[in-house]
Amino acid sequence: MMFAVAAIAVLVTMALALIRALKGPSVYDRILAVNSFGTLTVILISVHGFLAGRPEFLDLALVYALINFIGTIAVTKFVTFSDMGHGGGQEERGDI
């Protein structure tokens, strides 16, 4: 019961983040919404591990948290510089 309440709240919040990702006017809105969506996915995987009585899902949540961060940084860098291999030290604008 307790975990079902948490899962429902997280699912509704994921739907709201998805709305913003679909209708965001700029690309930065979409990146922000997808970042929140990934963080909520981490929580949903954890809660599902407790809900199903299989806490091994926490390992998946741990890996998802790290990959979500790396993915957000990579997409932000690609949108800003249009180049994944941009070296930040040579121009004044700097890296992200």
Binding site: V5, L32, S36, T39
Partner: protein, 131 residues
């Protein structure tokens, strides 16, 4: 003892769920990208943190709690970093804030970015003169 832990878990999970919903509503309804970051920040800090603390009370002192603490630490470090990188990328990309603060226009908030471009040029000139 079990009922105390259950009550603490309920408080954490319900509070975290409510804060997640508030953050999601802010993500949809706030007017600007930089203000929507505030809603995302509510989800990333207190919503996630309270739900994880509620799960920790259910897990007890086991390896599961250690993994939950690791998830909490990772989210607490990576989420502000990602938000900072996104805000900086948006400002570099010329995405000006739309919200005015008490009628005072922000220095970057000009219709054709007259204020932003000379600042970038000045900093570039000073940097090239140094080197």
């Amino acid at each position: 003892m079990t009922i105390v832990l259950d009550v603490l878990s309920w408080i954490g999970i319900v509070g975290g769920g409510i804060l997640c919903l508030i953050g999601g509503l802010g993500l949809v309804r706030l007017p600007d990208m930089y203000t929507r970051m505030h809603g995302a920040g509510i989800i990333d800090t207190l919503g996630i943190g309270l739900i994880l603390v509620g799960l920790m009370f259910q897990a007890g002192l086991t390896l599961i709690t250690a993994k939950l603490v690791l998830i909490l630490v990772f989210v607490f470090f990576t989420s502000p970093t990602a938000t900072h990188a996104l805000a900086r990328a948006a400002l570099n990309g010329g995405h000006a804030p739309e919200v005015e603060d008490d009628g005072i226009r922000l220095p970057i908030d000009s219709p054709d970015q007259e204020n932003m471009t000379p600042q970038v040029n000045v900093s570039r000139e000073t940097d090239s003169s140094k080197t």
